[in-house]
Amino acid sequence: MERARRSAEGGQAASFRMGIGDIFFRRQKVIEERLAEYLDHWWECVECFQQGMYKYLADGLGEELDFHYARVAKEESKGDELRRSIEVELFTRALLPESRGDILRILESLDLVINRAESTIRQLVIERLEVESWMRPGLSRLTEVTVETCKTLHLAASHLMRGEDGPIGKMTHRIEEAESRCDHVAEDLLGRVFASDLDLSRKLQLKDFVRRIATISDRAESAGDSLHIVSIKRRV
């Protein structure tokens, strides 16, 4: 999908290639490529989360959801592997110390986002959670806005890697706005949950689930802030 599209266009990774510098910056090139690959897996993970949520909201629990959970977990795990390998490369004489710190900070903040996406689908699968039918439109809207924050974050990260840091400020602003919309949708849902006649235990379980989804955009907002700080810091 996204990865295939990128390959067809020559790929994000290709856009930060060095040409002649490849000979002298081999380690750096490895990190660039792994980072581009990490961003691909990161986005795959978000897409799997989105598909899993929509499937669940449409058809409820079942094999389809288990399949999406397995995909989210696989992409997240692949992302973790890549993140660790980038960290190892970073500490073996590749890049300046400040660039190492910046990349580590970005990686960690991005990782927190997909960790939470994976844990949301896992919660559905493990707790065999059934949501009320009146909650479905709200949850669908929450998923949509959450994915919108992630999409903007992914775009901002790609821009930063390519040096097109001009629009990063605007993107960070868009992430903040989307995160704020997420909060409104989540609060509205929680209000209705606690106003309903459901058991308290059930209310608390649903509250935990809604909060878990909303946290994805919270974390995306923090990651966006990190990207913005790094882009400002890199100007002299």
């Binding site: 910056f25 890049l95 400040e98 660039s99 040096g163 097109e164």
Partner: protein, 313 residues
């Protein structure tokens, strides 16, 4: 004959061990360049600089006073002791000022001193930290303007800075060799021990030996302190220091690379809008500036008196 050679060799070794950190400290301490690679690059460029442009400085120092093998040896010991004392006092070490101070002491005792040459040397010493500071303060905004307009990606920016640090490191090594080899070679030349080319080659070799054998820890210490500035500022500091020292190599006056670095750091601070100048840095420059030649001068004069004592029965 052995005295000036040993003294000069020690000075050269100590100079290499200490001053290589000013040009490659950042690159090595940040682990972007292996120490071995940095030391070899530094030694090669240093030797090339010494051979190609070291002669002017040697002529200046040799012209300050007439030297014999004995007086050259005494000056070498006085300069070496001064450097050791300054190291203990943790003040910026200037081999150039120690050597000139020591030669001055001998010249005073012999009653023959080239005052015009001395004036030129002192003027250049004043100009070193000030020149490096002004140059860094001008270079920083100029390079920052170009750097920001390039709009490079994160990785290309990094590659540019890393390449820049290596290039200015090599240039700084060249300038160091061209400027500072005179401190060592002028002692070898004292009393006609060898010809100028041999003296330059041996002097450069001694400095390179210091770089290869003992500069690692100093590079780590200086590099980690300097790198707090950030890579771009470090690049400007090394470039300003290298250009300053190179200009004085062409003028023919050995100057202190430590003082040039301190001046350049202050210049970058001014360019970045730092309102407070570290008084301690200024005090250290001042103290090192006055104490180094003064102590070396007194010591060499004292050694001269001791060497010329005669038993009166």
């Amino acid at each position: 004959m052995i005295l000036p050679v040993l003294g000069g060799a020690y000075l050269g070794w100590s100079l290499g061990a200490n001053d290589a950190s000013h040009v490659f400290g950042t690159a090595v301490a940040s682990r972007m360049l292996r120490f071995g690679t940095a030391a070899v690059l530094c030694s090669v460029f240093l030797l090339v600089g010494a051979v190609l442009q070291g002669r002017e400085g040697i002529d200046t120092l040799s012209g300050l006073t007439a030297q014999t093998a004995l007086t050259a040896g005494l000056a070498a010991i006085a300069a070496a002791l001064t450097i050791t004392m300054m190291t203990v006092l943790k003040l910026p070490i200037s081999t150039s000022q120690a050597v000139v101070g020591a030669i001055l002491g001998i010249g005073v005792m012999q009653g023959e001193l080239n005052l015009a040459g001395l004036e030129k040397v002192v003027a250049c010493w004043i100009g070193t930290p000030i020149g490096a500071m002004v140059l860094a303060a001008v270079l920083y905004p100029a390079l920052a303007l170009i750097y920001n307009r390039l709009r490079l990606g994160m990785f290309r920016q990094d590659a540019l800075l890393r390449t820049g640090l290596i290039v200015v490191g090599c240039y700084g090594s060249y300038a160091l060799g061209a400027n500072n080899v005179a401190n060592v070679s002028s002692l070898f030349l004292g009393g006609g021990l060898m010809n100028p080319f041999e003296a330059t080659l041996l002097g450069g070799g001694c400095i390179a030996l210091g770089v290869l054998t003992f500069s690692r820890r100093v590079m780590d210490t200086v590099g980690k302190r300097v790198i707090k500035l950030d890579a771009f500022s470090s690049l400007v500091v090394v470039a300003a220091e290298a250009v300053t020292v190179h200009i004085y190599a062409m003028v023919g006056v050995p100057v202190s690379t430590s003082q040039a670095v301190i001046g350049a750091v202050l210049g970058v601070g001014i360019a970045r809008g730092s309102r407070s100048v570290r008084l301690r840095s200024l005090r250290n420059i001042g103290l090192g500036w006055v104490l180094t030649p003064a102590i070396a001068c007194c010591l060499s004069a004292f050694f001269y008196v001791i060497a010329h004592l005669r038993y009166v029965g």
